[in-house]
Symmetry: C2
Subunit: 310 residues, 2 copies
């Protein structure tokens, strides 16, 4: 049996898999990104495990018989993954990968390929034939994550405050859109300053569904924001695409760019229109399935090649 955990910033999903890959029990908890510390993450892993043990009752395996594979946000923070392994010594083994890698090998079923996850943040990952992988974007907000939900919310607030100042954005902005955004951020200068002071990426991302809704209704300004997001994601996709797109095996027309995350479906039409040469496809598999593939040796061990900085 394999115990797999997909540990994000806000949610943790866990499952006990049979040796054949069947999910026997599911359990969940709040998020435990390693930026919150290894002790916190260990507590969450144990909490999820206790739920599974409770459900299995007398059939529950011993910790010493259980190998864990965890995809965890912040896996590359120096020292924390090693600390987590040390703390969770009651388990037979613990393998830690980045949260994006589980989603990637889940989408590709363990084969080489590319996934871009677009939710509150934005990350891209590509797995090569030789087992190496590279990551793109994922720099965090507000420097990075261009094209993500938090970024869409920031763009909307930047444009709306300019609109209030009397600086018109390129497209006309509807009063209805403005009032729905300001219902979230607060309506006057002081409210907006106060909102911003405490705003986390998820708060900015909470504006994105309003943008999505108005774009679907044909609002010109929101359409332009969705197109900008699609351009940002396409730029990232192009850096992850095969170096030699003319060779048969790496043909971008046949090799999809997998998309996951809450904004992937609303963004798909803009991505398709913006770059029809890329085979955009929504991944329907959950990261836990990818983590099982890793546990079962059906996907390569994660080996991210760092990008050269200059």
């Amino acid at each position: 049996m394999h115990f797999c955990l997909d540990i994000g910033g806000t949610t943790t999903r866990g499952a006990l898999f049979s040796t054949g890959g069947k999910i026997l029990v599911r359990a969940g908890a709040t998020g435990a990104a390693l930026s919150l510390g290894a002790e916190h993450a260990a507590g969450i892993v144990r909490e999820v495990w206790q739920q599974i043990k409770h459900t299995k009752g007398s059939e529950a395996p011993l910790e010493s018989e259980i190998g864990i594979v965890a995809g965890i946000a912040g896996a590359t923070i120096p020292g924390e993954a090693a600390k987590l392994t040390e703390i969770l010594s009651e388990f037979a083994s613990l393998r830690i990968v980045s949260d994006g890698y589980g989603a990637l090998v889940s989408a590709t079923n363990g084969a080489p390929g590319t996934l871009i996850s677009v939710g509150t943040g934005l990350t891209g990952m590509r797995l090569f034939e030789n087992g190496d992988s590279i990551a793109g974007s994922g720099w965090g907000f507000p420097i990075g994550d261009q094209g993500s939900g938090a970024w869409l919310g920031l763009c909307a607030m930047q444009d709306l405050t300019k609109y209030i100042d009397g600086i018109a954005p390129i497209q006309p902005v509807s009063a209805d859109f403005v009032s729905q955004i300001l219902a979230i951020s607060g309506a006057d200068r002081f409210d907006i300053l106060h909102w911003q002071k405490n705003a986390k990426p998820k708060n900015y991302a909470s504006l994105a569904p309003v943008v999505v809704k108005f774009a679907q209704g044909g609002d010109e300004y929101c359409l332009s924001l969705m197109q900008r997001a699609a351009r940002e994601i396409t730029e990232l996709a192009q850096t992850l695409l095969p170096q030699n797109p003319t060779s048969h095996t790496d043909d971008p027309v046949t090799k999809p760019i997998w998309l996951s995350g809450g904004l992937s479906t609303p963004l798909l039409p803009y991505l398709k229109t913006g770059s029809a040469k890329i085979n955009w496809r929504i991944s329907r598999s959950e990261p836990l399935s990818g983590l099982y593939l890793l546990a079962a040796g059906k996907a390569p061990v994660e080996n991210v090649i760092p990008r050269a900085v200059v």
Copy 2:
């Protein structure tokens, strides 16, 4: 005698003025924006006053003989200005204006006019003939302050992380510029994430001098960033310009847009090239002089007209 204080987010400057407008004693302390609370601001005002009293010795006036005019960051935060007035009841009077207003009437010598302050943040203010004024920008980072030092730093980091990802910015980026920026932010993915997690507007603004230096050296990419900042500031200026620029008294060619703040001088050439129709001029007067004009009744009482939101 008038006790005037220019209270910013990082620095407080105070001076005792003679009735005729001569500075008798100067004193200073750390900043005390009202977002930090009225109690904290009151403590700073008393600290500056004690320094002045100490310098004046036996000639020091009593608190009950002293009227204060303070320009303070966050003056519009509901309730805080009233609370500050209540706490500082040992003084004969306390008049509170926004920090930008002192700088504005200082630049115009109490006359109608427009000032844009561009440092870590960006604010604009215009004083009309009838004594009313309007404010623009000043929404705070990262939503607002486009064209400011913090914004320049954010733009540089956004572009550099894309550059590291293999997404080229429009202009070529020099390796020398990249290494000088990354010497501040940290050079690898984890360092940058960590830097960003703790970065305040002043940290982003600390990257701006590198952009300024390379632009002055002819670096194409940094030139484009300075031009973008100048465009943002010009857009703001246009919202503050007289409604009817053809009438003689409000002719933008004769009415200057005053500039203050650490980035005003480096940005001046780009503003002049970008919008030669605007009479850009650097203000050399300090905000304290404007606060004295207010204390002496030589500048109108501040009356900011709020902008309609929709």
